[in-house]
């Protein structure tokens, strides 16, 4: 019975494919183009190209290699935070504590550096703080089952407070030769910080698409019931997702330090909004279960390009939060209901 069916299917499928390989390929292209998944995925790249072309036309110095390279380097922190946020959003959650985590990680980095434990240990401390905060988020969201907004709002407060107490709110200058190289020098055509961020993105892309935990993150975000029925340990998967987000906030702290040359105990909440904006622009479903790593990376680059472009055509920096906010709302509206 089974064998008969296989032959039937094969007999139906093959001659058609042989007779007109062109038309079948063309059909497939059309079919893919008609999918809303394709459109969601195309949002960030398309908008990036459009924004780039528009600003190149209106701002004379925009389309120079120097400016492009500078924008890519500026995008390092937004890109890292966007990718981290994506790991919470793909679980149908959100991580509001990322900016606070970043601040605390930078403070702890400073303490380690001040104690002369060296750069590698200080970096590990920063990432460790991020992972720890992420683990706390993941524990309360996954194991205690408190809504993600409340959990990360709470940890945001706690983490912000610890950072302020530990630093007395005072930034600490960090002058490190290696960090200066990463901030200013280039590997081939690209600045070091962009290259490192790209590397982190590639690693996380592989985690998401080529490991079991990557599939489980998406499955849990898509349907907790289905995941449970298939024996996936949902709390553990959520823990991993939030820990990855926390780790990226910790790494962002290192990039902020090498970017501005000092620790930053004050929390910049714009980072959270920008990360959410980039995540949505990158085609991540706010209902969970659908995400890529490269989409939000492009989304964050897009935001940086828009921000730089607006500055270059003479728009005041004060408009920036409003612009990002409008982009969040517009992107979320475009993607509404797309589960």
């Amino acid at each position: 019975m089974t064998i008969g069916t296989v032959q039937e299917t094969a007999a139906e499928g093959r001659p058609a494919a042989k007779a007109s390989p062109w038309s079948s390929r063309w059909h497939r292209v059309l079919r893919v183009a008609a999918l809303e998944e394709t459109w969601t995925k195309a949002t960030a790249p398309t908008a990036l190209i459009v924004a780039f072309v528009v600003f190149s036309l209106v701002a004379p110095n925009f389309a120079t290699w120097h400016n492009v390279n500078a924008m890519l380097a500026d995008a390092a922190i937004p890109v890292l935070l966007a990718v981290g946020m994506t790991f919470a959003v793909m679980l149908a959650g959100i991580d509001l504590s990322m900016a606070a985590t970043l601040a605390l990680a930078s403070v702890v980095f400073g303490l380690g550096y001040q104690a002369e434990w060296g750069l590698p240990v200080s970096c590990l401390l920063a990432v460790g703080v991020g992972v720890l905060v992420g683990a706390a988020n993941g524990f309360f969201v996954g194991r205690v089952r408190i809504p993600d907004m409340i959990v990360t709002l709470g940890t945001m407060g706690v983490v912000m407070g610890i950072g302020l107490v530990a630093s007395r709110g005072i930034p600490m200058p960090i002058a490190d030769a290696t960090l200066r190289i990463i901030a200013r020098d280039s590997l081939g055509p690209f600045r070091w910080n962009f290259v490192i961020v790209l590397g982190i993105g590639v690693v996380l892309h592989v985690v998401l698409t080529h490991t079991a935990i990557g599939t489980h993150l998406l499955a849990v975000g898509d349907s907790m019931d289905a995941s449970k029925a298939m024996g996936i340990r949902v709390p553990r998967v959520k823990l991993v997702g939030y820990m990855i987000g926390g780790a990226l906030a910790g790494i962002s702290a290192i990039f902020l330090i090498l970017y501005v040359g000092s620790t930053q105990p004050a929390v910049n909440t714009d980072y959270v909004m920008k990360a959410v904006a980039a995540t949505v622009l990158g085609g991540t479903s706010l209902f969970g279960g659908r995400a890529t790593v490269w989409g939000p990376m492009l989304g964050a680059v897009l935001l940086t390009v828009v921000q730089t472009g607006l500055t270059m055509v003479g728009v005041e920096a004060f408009f920036e939060p409003a612009v990002v906010g409008v982009i969040v709302l517009a992107a979320a509206t475009l993607m509404r209901g797309r589960k």
Partner: protein, 252 residues
């Protein structure tokens, strides 16, 4: 009852309470190998609780479960699965935004490598899923499409294929055609016949008496937490089944 070895699975005096509600009161039934065994009964008769005991989802308060004549204890659905019992849940337990092949291999991914460097074998999973689905569920277009793009019947076919992929022994299905139209119901029934033809035993809950008559060889009637009667399907009529379920009379 006949000797245990004749039965693929046997439930003996299963009792299960949720608080004050006695969902199962000493329910007993069996399923013979290579057959479709149907459970019918009104809402709240305890059908779902019974199969959830058999699939390891609930632990019965009392009673025994025998698989191939041997007593088993399931602490979780994973235990049941290791014994060769797969369940197609009523809600199918599919992740809509994942592809068909990702769903088929969900939490049983094929991997290579060691420790943290353990990567999924995407091509191999895709190929195996394709071989499985193209042989069984002829109505499913492609294993690379996401589940949300499939119709109800196609989803059902994917869920059943997944169950069969991991156990050719025993598959439990909770109302597999409840949400389907006529044509899709026919397709799913054809699929069930096919897997039974390949030697899998199937236990099915159904509200559709005609379907029970068409598909099953053995039928059990549940009422108020008990299995009140059982018969070879060939020996009963649809009208008798309806009377049974409503409590009008018994097979005698």
């Amino acid at each position: 009852m006949a000797s245990a070895a004749e039965h693929k699975i046997e439930a003996v005096d299963l009792t299960k309470s949720f608080g004050n509600v006695e969902a199962l009161k000493s329910a007993s039934l069996y399923a013979r190998p290579g057959e479709v065994t149907a459970i019918v009964g009104d809402n709240g008769a305890g059908k779902s609780t019974l199969i959830k005991c058999l699939s390891g989802y609930h632990a019965p308060d009392d009673g025994r479960i025998l698989v191939d004549g041997k007593p088993v204890h399931f602490g979780s659905p994973l235990d049941a699965r290791r014994t060769g019992i797969e369940t197609v849940y009523q809600d199918l337990a599919l992740a809509d935004q994942l592809t068909v092949w990702q769903n088929i291999f969900l939490n049983r991914e094929l991997t290579r490598g060691l420790g943290p460097l353990r990567f999924t074998r995407r091509a191999a999973m895709r190929r195996q899923a394709h071989d499985l689905v193209s042989g069984l569920a002829v109505n499913v277009p492609s294993v690379t499409s996401t589940v949300k793009r499939l119709s109800g019947g196609q989803r059902q076919a994917v869920a059943i294929s997944r169950a069969v992929m991991w156990s050719n022994q025993f598959v439990i299905m909770d109302e597999p055609t409840a949400a389907l139209g006529l044509r899709e119901t026919a397709q799913v029934e054809e699929l069930i016949r096919r897997i039974v033809g390949d030697g899998t035993s199937v236990l099915i809950i159904s509200h559709n008496f005609e379907q029970v008559m068409r598909l099953s060889q053995q039928v059990w009637v549940m009422r108020a937490g008990r299995v009140v009667s059982g018969a070879r399907t060939a020996d009963v009529t649809g009208a008798e089944l309806v009377a049974q379920v409503t409590g009008a009379n018994s097979f005698g």
